[in-house]
Each structure stands twice: as structure tokens, then as C-alpha cells.
Symmetry: C2
Subunit: 178 residues, 2 copies
Amino acid sequence: MALFIERGYDEVTVADIAERAGLTKRSFFNHYADKREVVFCGLDGFQAMVLDMLADADPGLGPLDAAVAALTRAGEVMTADYPEFTRARQDLIDSSPELRERDLMKTAAVTSALAAALADRGASPRAAAFAAQVAATVFTTAVAEWARQPELGFGATVQQALRDMRAVLAADHQPQPA
Amino acid sequence: MALFIERGYDEVTVADIAERAGLTKRSFFNHYADKREVVFCGLDGFQAMVLDMLADADPGLGPLDAAVAALTRAGEVMTADYPEFTRARQDLIDSSPELRERDLMKTAAVTSALAAALADRGASPRAAAFAAQVAATVFTTAVAEWARQPELGFGATVQQALRDMRAVLAADHQPQPA
């Protein structure tokens, strides 16, 4: 990650990364499928943490609040323990279409895992999928905003995004004139 | 598309497609970046149609209802004029991780264009992004369901999905006990 930030993502080769990490190119490819994977290396751990947090969530919460609570707690750990990494990763993703594509795929994988866990918790498959999708949108919006403006704190940034999301759905939900 | 359905997506090569279409491999690559693009070939037209439908939407509609209305009208055209293509395309995407990845990217591009158009229509950037994202989730859910069960009709399938989405957001929105 430090290399990407120093030189820009497009300028760094796999050979550069391997050299910095003291690896041969061959052992690099034992660890990562390609250069893009380096940016997403903590993500399997993040997904596991989200599922752990969900297992600990108040059983009385509906699927959306449970999903947001789990993502918020995992995000608070991530932003508190790795603030520079999280911010640098966000800047990198914003800077590269290739990384935005990979980020979409990775987010979709975490969203599917979260939907499956919400269904195990008792939500219908459709409610679980919708709740996971909305929670993921709220979360990624909050991470991007936190990276620009960390002062509010990550949890409050998520809550504001969730309120805004609910307002978008509720504002339209007026009885139609006959 | 017919070739993919006859033989399965993984079994068809670019040479097969070019031969069936009476093209050389070289002129195939003048038309499409790769094999995956063939499956998504009508999508630029679809996006243009969604934006046209949005321009025609009732100015009194909030961003979410306007986005859903535009996607519904474009989807009604697609499912009425190309029912077999739409169903076959859905089956293909469901059958291939490579196509699911491309579909995610294409959907993200249409969602961004829709968000930009909603912002031009007066929504805040955040409300526009949230409304476009939720509308896209509702729409893709409805297309998948319509492909399995067309009897209800596409418009009604979208409306049911939108009601379910609103229920997921509303169900959680109870005042918390003090």
C-alpha cells in the first residue's frame, strides 16, 4: 500500500511490490492473484468480523438495523485501528477504474455473505437481500465520507447516512391523489 | 445469444460467434471488446431509454419513485419486445461468474447515469445516489423474478419488489425503547 501511495497505483508493478516485501514474483503470486488483490487483502478478515458482529447483534433488531449495526461495529474497528490504511485505500480506489471494478466485486461478495447470515437469522430471502444491499450502500457511502471528514466519527457518519437513506424512501411514500 | 443458449456460454468461442454472424474475428473485435460484451450489447440503448423515460416522468415524483417509474417503463419495453432475449440473458448471467461480474459493472454504470440525471432533476447528490441505488436493486430483483415467473407482468413485479423494499426499511424504523 505504501508503494501505491508513494508512486500512484498505475506506476507500481508486481515486481516492485514483491521487492519491497522481500518476495520473489513467484511467491507474490502464491499470495495474491494479481496487483489489485493487494489493495483488498484485509477484506476476508473484515467479512468475518462483520458476520461475528451480526451474531452478537440484539436479536430484536430487524434485518436492516442488524446489518447496519454489524457493519458499523466492524467499520469502527477498521477506522480506529487502521485509519491511514482505510483513508489511503479509499483514495486509491477513487483514483483507479480498475480498482473501482474490483471494489464493486468485493463489496458484492461481502453483501451476499451478509444477506445469507440475515436469512439464517430469520429474515425472508428477499428482505435479507434488500437489507444487506441497503446496508452496504449506507456503509460504503459512510466510509467515503469519513475518509474526507473524519471529525464526526465513523458511527455518527453511518447513522446520518442511514437517516438520509430512510428519508429518500419515506419522502416518496405519500398516498397518491386519486 | 442463440449460440450461447445452444451450447452454453463457456463452450462458445469468439471464432464461433464471428462465424455465425458472418464476421471475421478481427471485425468481431471492432464491434465488441470481448465475448462478454455480446451479452450486454443492447445496454447502451437501454440506458438512453431509462434517461428518456425519466425526463418524461411526473415532475411531482420524488427521486425514488421517479427512478423506479423510469426503470419500469424501460423494463416494460424490454420485456414486451424482447421477452426471450431478456429471459435467456438472465439465465446466462446466472450461469457464469464472469458474466455476473460484467453485469455488476454494467448495472453500476447505468446506476451512476441515473443518479446524475436525478441530481439534474433537483435531488441532492446523496439522495440521488441512494434513490438510484435502491431503484436499481428493486429493478434487477424484479427482472430476475419476472424471468422465472412472467405471469404477474413486469410492472406489477416491480411494484411488489418496491413495496417489499419499503417494508424492510420501515419495519426497522421503530422508536427505540429508552
